[in-house]
């Protein structure tokens, strides 16, 4: 298999022309940290963008950065931190979860998979902060959409389409995105000995408070014990609420939340360093990265449905482990080996049409046999396929990484 390691975007059209004229199919890759995510692909060559790296524009006062697709997220975060800024969304690092090292993920990878960590509920997703894209379509044409400004409604918002398209529409060579100031202080309020049902109420009340909670998660005792944080290893189920902002404000809001929930269970407060460790643990799904089970589900659901849903899938799948992020709107579930098809029917049918389940980690064979992404209704599948037809009529880019090709 050919492997094209490019160092300049000018090399992309030639490779695409080669693929178009010889009917070759290409895998679009960065550092391969998420190669095991999605449907396994049958390709003739890999177009590797990891050599396409570097920051092209960064204007802290304008809250905007443009960088090449192969630039690592870790490098971008380091550059931003030097100006006391951070990405406007929280990028998770699924490297360790998917059997790779941490810190490998690239900008191209994080935006085209539209993955977001715990701060998703307040800060928004990667897609919310992608302002502009340069690249090439599967037609081999140079492609540009969006701009560098925050407010732009000129033409269709194709950045949204590119975000989360898993490289099936275009090869992105650089991305322009919004950045934000780093909060002065971060703290976490913990409420211990909480049942699954009670966690939903606490997270709801926290998110409905005036205290601008930026992340909310629930860990059963077995998961809390894995965080490696001394305060959390007592083997107790816990709700965690993240607070960030100017120091005085954070202190005030933490105090208010501690008071509000002290009647529900023992309350505790984590300061900066431990907070950082905890939310990285949750966002990166570290609880399951060294897990015995090969099968990990990421389930997006209306938050108030979470307790009943988790009860239903836990009852049907013995040995299932889980935790909740996004104030209950995200269920991470680890399904033990030996359960047929990683419990796909149980996981998806119990949603009753409200939400979707993605099989984030599973052996290659299983990801071929069942769809890692939730199957779509025929009308949406048809629209999606015709969108692909417009961008990549010969299906040369990451073919079938998301869904098999359907007749339209």
């Amino acid at each position: 298999m050919e492997n094209f390691n490019i160092t300049s975007e000018d090399q992309v059209p030639d490779i695409l022309q080669w693929a178009l004229s010889d009917s070759k199919r290409l895998a679009i890759a960065g550092n391969n940290s998420k190669a095991a995510l999605g449907r396994p692909m049958d390709v003739d060559a890999t177009l590797n963008l990891s050599g396409l790296s570097g920051i092209e524009m960064y204007e802290p006062a304008e809250l905007v950065m443009k960088a090449k697709a192969g630039t690592t997220v870790a490098f971008v975060e380091q550059e931003l931190a030097a100006s006391n800024q951070q990405l406007a969304f929280m990028p998770p690092d699924y490297g360790p979860l998917l059997g790779k090292a941490s810190g490998l993920g690239t900008l191209g990878g994080i935006f085209t998979t539209n993955l977001s960590g715990s701060r998703r509920i307040k800060a928004g997703a990667a897609r919310d902060h992608l302002l502009g894209v340069n690249g090439f379509t599967g037609r081999g044409h140079a492609f540009q959409t969006g701009s560098r400004v925050m407010k732009n409604v000129t033409g269709y918002d194709l950045c949204k389409l590119i975000a989360g398209s898993y490289g099936t529409l275009a090869v992105c060579t650089s991305l322009t995105f919004k950045v934000l100031p780093k909060p002065e202080k971060v703290r976490t309020v913990l409420v211990f000995d909480i049942t699954l049902e009670a966690s939903a109420t606490i997270m709801r009340d926290a998110m409905s408070s005036v205290h601008e909670v930026s992340a909310a998660a629930y860990m059963p005792a077995s998961i809390a014990a894995k965080t490696g944080i001394d305060y959390l290893d007592g083997g107790r189920a816990v709700v965690a609420l993240k607070i960030e902002g100017p120091a005085a404000s954070v202190e005030y809001r933490c105090a208010a939340l501690l008071k509000a929930f002290e009647g529900q269970g023992r309350v505790e407060e984590l300061h900066g360093h431990r907070s950082q460790t905890l939310w990285t643990f949750l966002s990166d799904v570290r609880a399951f990265s060294e897990n015995q089970s090969p099968n990990i589900w990421k389930i997006s659901i209306p938050p108030s449905n979470a307790p009943a849903y988790v009860k239903a899938i836990s009852a049907a799948i013995p040995g299932l482990e889980y935790f909740l992020d996004w104030a209950g709107g995200l269920v991470w579930a680890s399904v033990p080996e030996g359960i047929e098809n990683a419990g796909v029917t149980i996981i998806r049918q119990n949603l009753n049409g409200n939400g979707h389940g993605t099989l984030i980690r599973a052996p290659e064979k299983l990801r071929t046999e069942i769809s890692p992404f939730q199957p779509q209704n025929p009308v949406i599948a048809g629209i999606s396929e015709r969108i692909r037809e417009g961008y990549d009529p010969q299906r040369i880019l990451n073919p079938e990484r998301m869904y098999p090709t359907v007749e339209t």
Binding site: Y156, D157, R386, M402
Partner: protein, 496 residues
């Protein structure tokens, strides 16, 4: 400005079309085919352009919408969807051979769900009605376009509407969880819902801001936020707009993201002050309104920081709102800026480019030169935090040639915005107004690529044709991989 030539074959069968539409729409008043009734729909907020629709329909059920769209598709009839008709870019401008599809009857709030902090509403619900419905419980819907009292959420989806609080809370696209839409084929589809990040492509993301070209919105799930504990505003006046622009950059550079940060120039300040006595200083060249929201302790901290920055930047006036009443008075002038300008000029046209903020002095200086060149005054209001300019060009439509001069001036301003790295429209949409300027920002290939998206939804181009794109390509032509040199394919495609 040219619109697609009306299809004579469609006009000839108008009587049959009206008769059949009356069979589809159950309410006898739901099909309007008389001129007097159609007048109400002849324009939207961009009233310089007017056109009577062939017929207007006001369906009351989703089933009726499905039937109307299927019928129009089968008969080869164009459809223009319309909410409240407040578009400032002509997005709802009717077509002479088209059906005007009004969604006004879809005005119910279906579900307020505090457990999931969202509301499900019909497309004809006004933006402000959502907040009004949840205000008593301490919630609100964040995007607040200045037309919020009248504009509908369906129209907000179509235009990806903004408002003064976008800097902190984002545009419509960042505040919507789900959209239900009816395709031109008459299929009802739901994208997203009460959960986050729908599976597959982010189709909801491209429908938002698609200006009615992809489908007809029938339900919207919006995110509700808790109303902030405390809100304050500061008025800050500067001897020059450069200093004001500098101050905006330094506030953000200091790590403060205000809820809203607005700038007005000399003309706008004077017009607004005369109109509603907001207490604006008249001896400054530029005025900032900086609004903060959140816990009181945080606001106090940030207000002090802003005051310090403003002084360093040379502010001559700094006034902090001492009460909710005073805060609203500060805003009254800004919110009345458009009618205030309307009082000092018979007509005005509002532009909507966005620029990188650092380019503000250059753009304002160049705008001054253009103002002299065209002999037309211009007043500026500016969403300073996110670089969205609203130059208001003053003209008199009764003076022959003034409208054309104004249009040229406006086009020059937008070209300037693109030239400095900005965009043609920040929140008002392309519509018909900026359609012919799209080539300033996009290459022909990029525009074709955008139109290929439409082919995935509406391959016959029935929905809102003549808007957004300066050249209508047929999907069959767009689908081709190669074009032969020399021979112009499809010589009859409409080029406006």
């Amino acid at each position: 400005m040219k619109m697609p030539l009306p299809d004579q074959a469609v006009l000839e069968k108008r009587d049959m079309l009206v008769r059949r539409l009356k069979e589809i729409v159950q309410n006898p008043d739901g099909v309007i085919d008389q001129e007097a009734g159609l007048r109400a729909f002849e324009c939207d907020g961009l009233s310089a352009y007017r056109q009577l629709p062939m017929v207007a329909v006001l369906p009351e059920t989703k089933q009726e919408i499905c039937e109307i769209l299927k019928f129009c598709k089968a008969e080869g009839v164009n459809v223009v969807p319309r909410g409240a008709g407040t578009s400032l870019s002509g997005g709802a401008l009717p077509l002479a051979d088209g059906v005007l599809l009004g969604l006004a009857k879809f005005s119910k709030i279906i579900d307020v769900d505090y457990d999931n902090r969202c509301a499900v509403v019909e497309p004809g619900v006004t933006n402000l009605a959502i907040t009004d419905a949840v205000k008593a419980d301490g919630f609100y819907y964040a995007p607040d376009p200045s037309s919020q009292i009248a504009c509908t959420i369906g129209g907000n989806i179509a235009e990806n509407s903004g408002g003064v609080h976008c800097l902190k809370y984002g545009l419509t696209t960042n505040n919507v969880l789900g959209v239900e839409m009816i395709t031109m084929d008459g299929d009802i589809v739901q994208f997203g819902g009460k959960h986050l990040d729908a599976e597959g492509y982010d189709i909801m993301g491209v429908i938002t801001g698609s200006e009615g070209l992809l489908g007809v919105i029938t339900e919207v799930t919006v995110r509700l936020l808790k109303s902030p504990q405390y809100i304050s505003a500061q008025l800050i006046g500067f001897p020059s707009s450069e200093q004001a622009g500098d101050c905006v950059g330094k506030i953000i550079g200091a790590g403060i993201i205000p809820a809203g940060m607005e700038m007005m120039d000399y003309y706008a300040i004077h017009a607004a002050e005369e109109f509603c006595h907001a207490g604006y200083p008249l001896d400054v060249e530029a005025l900032l309104i900086v609004e903060l929201d959140g816990p009181e302790i945080e606001i106090e901290h940030n207000n002090n920081a802003i005051e310090k920055i403003a002084k360093e930047c040379g502010a001559t006036v700094i006034k902090l709102s001492q009460s909710e009443e005073e805060r609203l008075t500060f805003w009254a002038g800004r919110k009345a800026a458009f009618p205030a300008i309307g009082r000092i000029s018979p007509d005005y046209m509002c532009m909507d480019g966005t620029i990188p903020r650092s380019q503000l002095p250059k753009v304002l200086a160049r705008m001054g030169e253009l103002s002299e060149h065209y002999g037309l005054r211009v007043a500026n209001v500016f969403h300073a935090g996110d670089g969205n300019l609203h130059p208001l060009i003053l003209f008199d439509a009764n003076i022959p040639g003034d409208l054309e001069k104004c249009e040229q001036f406006g086009a020059d301003i937008l070209r300037l915005c693109v030239e400095v790295g900005g965009v043609l429209t920040g929140e008002h949409g392309v519509g018909v107004e900026k359609r012919d300027l799209m080539n300033e920002m996009f290459s022909e290939d990029d525009l074709k690529q955008q139109q290929r998206l439409k082919c995935a939804f509406d391959p016959d181009g029935r929905l809102n044709p003549g808007k957004v794109f300066p050249i209508l390509h047929r999907c069959a032509e767009l689908g081709k991989m190669h074009v032969h040199n020399g021979a112009l394919p499809f010589p009859d495609i409409p080029r406006f």
